[in-house]
């Protein structure tokens, strides 16, 4: 029962925060709501025995990405944003489409038949520790995507420099 209550809280608050993120007039407020959301997500990860990812979530997302957002917002110094309309003119269509798609997805996810269970039971992971379990996978079986991820980051770095550097 308790986990369900906790989940209910998280679900409600996360949904609320998400809505706040997309509705705030001031981007800074959005970012702040987003950070709040990320903390909640990290908590959910903990719920699901993914401590390492919960940490990454907070460090990387809340710590790095969102700060990057804030930097940019500050850098761009968008004062007129406060008075400009928040939504595009056709927003009802957008909302309708969004709701439609949620409906379709929720409708379909109820039919999910979970696949066969794997070998990483909670006990196994706890024995290995989560970070090690993930790490060994990343450096053995998933070393190739791992390398690609490095390239992705490299491109991101190069790209960001190329695009954002001044003349």
């Amino acid at each position: 029962m308790t986990p369900k209550i906790f989940f209910t809280y998280f679900a409600i608050s996360m949904t609320f925060m998400s809505v706040m993120v997309i509705t705030r007039r001031n981007p800074v407020h959005s970012v702040l709501w987003m950070i709040g959301l990320f903390f909640h997500i990290a908590a959910v990860y903990l719920f699901l025995n993914a401590e390492f990812l919960a940490a990454v979530q907070i460090i990387l997302y809340a710590g790095a990405i969102m700060v990057l957002f804030l930097f940019v917002i500050m850098m761009l110094n968008l004062r007129e944003e406060i008075v400009a309309p928040r939504f595009i003119g056709e927003w009802p269509i957008g909302v309708a489409l969004g709701i439609a798609i949620i409906t379709m997805i929720i409708h379909s996810v109820f039919t999910i038949q979970p696949g066969p269970a794997g070998e990483y039971t909670i006990e196994t992971i706890q024995k290995m520790t989560h970070a090690k379990a993930i790490g060994s996978l990343l450096y053995t079986k998933y070393v190739f995507p791992f390398e690609i991820a490095s390239l992705v980051l490299l491109v991101a770095v190069v790209g960001a420099i190329v695009l954002a550097k001044k003349r």
Binding site: K4, F10, A11, M14, S18, V21, I22, P27, S30, V31, M34, F38, I41, F47, L48, L53, V56, Q57, L60, Y61, I65, L68, F69, L76, R86, F87, I88, W91, G94, V95, L97, G98, I99, I101, I102, I105, I106, V109, F110, I112, P114, A117, G118, E119, T121, I122, T124, A133, I134, L137, A149, V152, L153, V155, A156, A160, I161, V162, L163, A164
Partner: protein, 100 residues
């Protein structure tokens, strides 16, 4: 025990909110954040699946998603900076130089 479907529904809802945010906000920054929202919702469902399937592939993927999200944020913000430097707008309905 919380059923798997609850997580998936939560993920779907947040995904949907992300979609709506992407569809209705004029501000490019918020749109970018909506995309992040969508990615996070995917992460939730991946980890939930991973947990319930007793398999770590989903979590590995989450790891990569977070990496890519970071890269995307960097590139996206860089593009935005370049754009705003040229033409200080960041509302989608003002970025319609090309159409038709």
């Amino acid at each position: 025990m919380v059923p798997l479907s609850w997580y998936i529904c939560l993920s779907a809802v947040i995904f949907g909110i992300g979609v709506i945010g992407f569809l209705v906000r004029r501000n490019v920054l918020i749109m970018l954040m909506s995309v992040e929202l969508m990615l996070n919702s995917v992460n939730i469902s991946l980890i939930a699946f991973s947990h319930y399937l007793q398999d770590l592939k989903g979590q590995v993927l989450v790891f990569f998603v977070i990496t890519v999200a970071a890269a995307e944020a960097a590139i996206g913000l860089a593009i935005l900076v370049a754009l705003v430097r040229n033409k200080s707008v960041l509302h989608t309905d003002e970025i319609t130089e090309m159409k038709g």
